[in-house]
Symmetry: C2
Subunit: 420 residues, 2 copies
């Protein structure tokens, strides 16, 4: 057991911050939170103490949607339209991951960078390559991350060297799942790329597999208008995009749907009813001109909303940057709708980028007794003096807006220090 001390900023609800100055978090041997307190008991005082002094202790980030094989192309092709971008960069990039050595090099770097940026839990797309997907899972686990990784399924509308036959897709999915048993903290998740990439036959098989093996599902939905039209064309018996997943048993509790940009009342009701998780990807949605998702409205209406970097449609791996882009994006919508002040606050953005994602892994709100400890320690001592003492909340807000890699001086994942 051990004790961690610092200025604790806990997201105890959507938009609700609980600040404990010079507070203590007691961890048990398994890395679970045993106590969060202002004063230690005599017994706790005898435990080894990690004193972070004036530094901030924040929730670590959760990245609920990103494409690992697109990491090398971060920040590239941003002038292209979605289809050109997919064909010129994305599909060619992903096809390279048939090369396992290359995959190892990229995924080692990705895993290290995630930790450096304070992201400890992920829900992630790999490519369609079985071998490379195992490598990704290995590297994430080695770096100390927790999460879900999916071998991508796509048996239609792929790129050159980036498509499977239905038979291959099924065979490789089973082979991949068999090889996943050795992982402790990185679990497989069923991953049809999106409806346009998967035939009905494959979708049906994946849905049944997810059900039989009790696996979660992730995919994309309602990212842009052209895609929505395409889905209608491809699956004429479904009125709504979500029904193309529901039809095959994949519209269910804990299914993660990236984007959900263009969304109406009925779709919101469908999300809520099934407890499907929205992974909102503000930076990507702007960069590739998908649209602006009504993120605050979704939350207010009771939808489970989390955030994703969506690299490489998104140009930043840092979830602090993703949070502030999410806030900006919500401000743009507030301006468009002339709804003064109806934008995400910093506290709300922080909640979405941390706790709302941690809940996917069974954690509660805030730093809760019994939960695995996932946190970052932030040193903002390079801050410019305001000419007066800054409150912890001011320092926190500023760090969400200004966090650089070097501000993150320690990272805890599953109660273990994985950086610093």
């Amino acid at each position: 057991m051990k004790v961690i001390k610092g200025n604790i900023v806990s997201a105890t609800g959507f938009g609700e911050l609980t600040i404990l100055e010079n507070g203590f978090i007691v961890l048990d041997k398994a890395g679970k939170i045993a106590a969060v307190t202002e004063h230690l008991t005599e017994e706790q005082k005898r435990l080894p103490l990690m004193d972070y002094g004036e530094r901030l202790i924040l929730h670590s980030f959760v990245d609920m949607h990103l494409h690992a094989p697109q990491y090398p192309m971060l920040g590239m092709g941003m002038d292209l339209s979605l289809l050109d971008w997919l064909n010129t960069y994305t599909f060619q990039m992903e096809a390279r991951f048939s090369d396992v050595e290359y995959a190892r090099e990229v995924y080692q770097r990705l895993a290290a960078d995630l930790i450096h940026w304070g992201t400890t839990r992920v829900v992630m797309f790999s490519s369609l390559h079985t071998q490379a997907t195992w490598v990704l899972m290995e590297e994430l686990e080695k770096a100390g991350l927790t999460g879900y990784v999916g071998k991508v399924n796509m048996d239609r509308n792929g790129g050159v060297n980036l498509q499977e036959t239905t038979k291959e897709s099924k065979r490789e999915t089973l082979r991949w799942l068999d090889g996943c048993e050795r992982f402790q903290r990185i679990k497989p998740i069923i991953t049809p790329r999106f409806t346009p990439s998967c035939t009905d036959g494959l979708m049906d098989w994946l849905g049944r597999l997810a059900e039989e093996r009790n696996l979660f599902v992730q995919s994309h939905m309602n990212e842009n208008l052209e895609e929505i039209r395409l889905v209608k064309e491809l699956v004429p018996d479904c009125d709504r995009y979500w029904q193309t997943y529901a039809k095959h048993r994949m519209w269910k509790d804990h299914t993660v749907m990236a984007h959900c940009v263009h969304i109406d009342k009925d779709e919101i009701a469908a999300l809520k009813e099934a407890n499907v998780v929205v992974a909102h990807c503000a930076d990507s949605n702007i960069n590739i001109c998908s649209g602006i998702a009504p993120v605050r409205q979704l939350v207010k209406e009771g939808v489970w909303v989390t955030l994703g970097s969506d690299i490489a449609g998104g140009a930043q791996l840092s979830m602090a940057e993703v949070i502030t882009m999410t806030i900006r994006s919500s401000k743009i919508l507030a301006m468009q709708k002339q709804e003064d002040g109806n934008f995400l606050s910093v506290a709300e953005g922080y909640y979405l980028g941390t706790v709302s994602g941690h809940k996917y892994f069974g954690s509660g709100e805030g730093f809760c007794v019994g939960d695995m400890f996932h946190a970052i320690v932030v040193d903002d001592s390079d801050r410019i003096s305001l000419g007066r003492k800054m409150t912890v909340q001011e320092r926190f807000e500023r760090m969400i807006y200004r966090m650089k890699k070097e501000n993150i001086v320690a990272v805890y994942s599953e109660g273990k220090k994985v950086l610093g």
Copy 2:
């Protein structure tokens, strides 16, 4: 004389890149560009060579609008509406600059950070304090920056401890100008904060002073709708905001107007006719919910557009980040107007954040013979392998999106190496 070698990426026009791989820039003794060439003459080969190898040589950035005394509050108060933000943070913050020692500490840091982020030329607001404004000019000059700094004038609608009488404002402005003669590269610029802050009497006096002494002018215009309404109320004889400046001889060649978010045909015509420079501040306009300026339209219609970080409405000093936020902001407008593809390209953003600003200082487009050399050297060797060779243009695009302080390994201002 000396020679600089590297991969030169020159913005030779709006959206036009000229790339010289392993090219040379020859500098004369005064720091002016004597040649840009693929091959050195025998004589040039004997000059001292600074070989930057595979690194990129880019134009340095020009920040055409920022508030120096707001630097300490960067990233703070982002949940507040404009008026609360001004009263809770901004005016209180600026009032602190009556303390010259505090000013010294902040401005030393600001000047150093500007250079670290590759900004070598600025057009900047100080506060209304004469002494602190000199300190700012000193520190900028010491750090190697070139630019224009204005002691702010405001004789109405200020904050507590942040307003002058008309008489004080005039007296201090003259005193300030007298003390500016000692500066070589930092010049004074006449700076009525904006129409709501200055009485007609003061405006008139400032306009005449600018004319008599042949000084440029900077101010704010059409930032948000409430402000526009207020100006109409305050100056009922002017139909348009710009006329409140024109009336007092301040709507003229090289006048810098920050924002110009809400703008119509007539105002665009007025900007063009007078050769007034727009300092577009995308990040700030989003953060404080001012609106989205039609930046690409302005350029296309022939308005002189440059970029500003507008700290601390803007949350980032890095002009690379400002450029990509400008691009994002233009993409949002393209989506709103359903004008597919009518957004700023990376090359266009680069032009606006560099060359368009350098032109304010008399430079031409691209790296031109005869111009003072203003450049940054960018090391992107920490990039992740794409599994193939990246072109210089790809590396450039990626660096505009991903530039961190540590990528900027050398900075040249007025031909002198000021960093690295």
